[in-house]
């Protein structure tokens, strides 16, 4: 019996390990290419990190740097040159600006609305709620074209506003917060009213603190979605490098796949991809919770 169980267990691990290798393959390729020299990449040699021989990089010299600066180990060169070629910090900062603005505005709009839908009685409440339920069905990417036309007519293409505006309303956020507020006991709110608190202070001083766990999950959901989003920025940002979000940066690095050096290109891509992955590995449970949030009912 014992032996049989071990065999069963090993089989499962065998299958899962093959799966894990397939899943990790592109990650391996990405990291490996960002560390190796061009020759090693082209001859597919050197394993994960390559030989790391000190050498002079011709593309670097051609760009106009001194021979001394260009003589170094491949991994240092790849990452250094990546930062020299493109304003990576700028792209990352744009990512932070856009995702944070989106999240903050989403909360500012959704939280009071959710509170009103859950805890206040007023004429038309049911109608507003069914409107929310209907809007849940509309994928914002699907209506990207009419949104683009509207923004173009308003002269907002190629601005931060274009990146942020369409995402300011999160019906999903309203729905989620409303479900959460339904579980908050009325007594808490009544007590706050007795103390003389107005409705505004109730929203921000009573409801907001109770909603922190749900908000955190929603934050991860929202930030991950918009940090990784490529379609929308690609639509509304046409050429202005100053407004590039990380994915637009990635697209730019890829540029000439046949002419360019691959090492620095992959180094840029790794740099842009890493922050989120590190955050995920540190706070895994919360991330999985947040991203599968749409699975909650």
């Amino acid at each position: 019996m014992q032996a049989k169980q071990y065999i069963g267990e090993s089989w499962k691990h065998g299958i899962l390990i093959v799966g894990a290798i397939l899943v990790l393959l592109p990650f391996y390729m990405m990291v490996s290419m960002s560390l190796k020299s061009q020759q090693e990449i082209q001859s597919i040699s050197g394993g994960l990190i390559g030989a790391q021989e000190v050498q002079t990089f011709p593309v670097c010299v051609k760009t106009g740097y001194s021979e001394e600066t260009c003589t170094t180990k491949p991994y240092i060169y790849n990452y250094w040159f990546a930062f020299e070629k493109a304003p990576i910090p700028r792209y990352l900062m744009n990512g932070v600006i856009v995702t944070l603005s989106i999240f903050i505005i989403q909360v500012l709009v959704a939280l009071p609305c959710a509170y009103a839908l859950a805890k206040l009685r007023f004429y038309g409440r049911e109608f507003v709620f069914s409107m929310v339920l209907f809007c849940l069905l509309i994928p914002v990417h699907g209506i990207a074209l009419p949104l683009y036309v509207m923004l173009a007519q308003a002269g907002l293409v190629d601005t931060y506003s274009a990146l942020i505006l369409p995402w300011t309303i999160s019906v999903f956020g309203i729905f989620l917060m409303r479900q959460f507020f339904m579980t908050v006991p009325d007594e808490l709110i009544d007590a706050a009213r007795m103390d003389g608190m107005g409705e505004y202070s109730i929203v921000w001083k009573v409801m907001l603190p109770t909603a922190i766990p749900a908000l955190l999950a929603f934050a991860i959901f929202s930030v991950v979605a918009h940090w990784n989003d490529y379609f929308w920025p690609r639509m509304v940002i046409t050429g202005n490098r100053d407004l590039f979000t990380p994915p637009l940066g990635i697209r730019e690095f890829r540029g000439g796949i046949d002419s360019d050096e691959f090492g620095p290109m992959m180094a840029s891509i790794v740099t842009v991809t890493v922050p989120l992955i590190v955050a995920f590995i540190i706070a895994q449970k919360r991330f999985i919770e947040g991203i599968t949030l749409t699975g909650m009912k």
Partner: protein, 318 residues
């Protein structure tokens, strides 16, 4: 209760934004699709259904529907089944489940665009490790396994692997070839999506009470497969319905991998709807035809979700 007018201020911003950002664009897209409007034009003319006629008669758009349908029909079932299998395997594991879970969830988290480029290099005919792995395996175990020589009806001299080896390592240019491009894109789609489904299924599995399995065993369902049929699968009904819907909606919206890897080619075999909207309306400035595609696209999604709601109300009660 209370007589304040606070609620107006609470709901007004949300309502105004919903109308401007979500509801009005639906009508705008519908309106534009019946005209010959192009962005920047001063005037426009009503042309009725002409855009839609084009969509269902011109070869490009027929190919577009085909590519989208192929992608959705391949990616949804496979990623759902893989997600379920992975979840059940992990659930039955004694140790190490957390590590696999983290690994399988990585693609969901990682920037898809970056991973698409990583795949491009992994599958590159001369730089990629996939084709070099295949080339090094000629005549060996790899050829036997991946060439399906172990299947009784495969002639080992005629298998795709053997032929490629014999023809000077002529392995596929995965993303550049007409007969492989769409399948490669599908593969990346599945690679990215199944971890998400796995996590949803894991949550679903923890919701199944242990007693049900004991009861099933007493009723004579001894084997794992019988227990799966009797308990697990019916109990996961609501989860499955949800997973299928959300995967379908996401799959319909595939764009990143197409734009960066194939640009809809070769010969429009990967020309999916989101990419068509982008190419027509933004790059070629044919706004009205883009709007017509948008309308059809939204139509698909709405039908799908209503269908899901209908099933929820009718069937999936256990």
């Amino acid at each position: 209760m209370h007589n304040s007018k606070a609620h107006i201020w609470f709901i007004a911003p949300a309502i105004i934004l919903m109308i401007i950002i979500l509801i009005f664009p639906l009508f705008l897209a519908g309106g534009i699709s019946f005209t010959d409007y192009n962005l920047g034009n001063k005037s426009l003319e009503w042309i009725g259904l002409e855009n839609y006629e084009k969509m269902f008669s011109r070869k490009t758009y027929v190919k577009m529907i085909w590519a989208t349908a192929t992608y959705v029909i391949v990616v949804v079932p496979i990623s759902v089944v893989l997600g379920l299998c992975a979840a059940m395997l992990l659930n039955s594991l004694r140790f190490g489940a957390d590590i696999y879970k983290t690994i399988f969830f990585l693609p969901v988290m990682a920037t898809l665009l970056a991973m698409a480029i990583a795949w491009e290099f992994t599958l590159h005919p001369t730089l990629g490790i996939v084709n070099s792995f295949l080339a090094n395996g000629c005549g060996g175990v790899r050829e036997f396994i991946l060439g399906f020589h172990w299947l009784p009806w495969v002639d080992s001299q005629q298998s795709w692997y053997h032929v490629a080896c014999a023809n000077n390592m002529d392995f596929p240019y995965w993303l550049k070839q007409k007969n492989t491009a769409i399948w490669t894109i599908c593969f990346i789609g599945i690679w990215q999506a199944f971890g998400f489904n796995m996590v949803l299924y894991l949550a679903g599995l923890t919701g199944i009470p242990r007693e049900l399995y004991h009861a099933a065993e007493m009723d004579g369902a001894k084997s794992t497969w019988e227990q799966f049929k009797l308990v697990t699968w019916p109990m996961l009904g609501p989860t499955t319905l949800f997973v299928v819907t959300i995967t379908t909606i996401r799959t319909f919206q595939v764009f990143d991998t197409i734009e960066i890897l194939t640009k809809g080619g070769p010969s429009k075999t990967t020309y999916v709807m989101m990419y068509a909207i982008f190419e027509k309306a933004i790059q070629q400035n044919l706004t009205s035809i883009g709007a017509a595609i948008t309308v059809v696209f939204i139509g698909f999604i709405l039908i799908l979700t209503f269908f899901q709601r209908y099933i929820i109300e009718k069937r999936v009660h256990y």
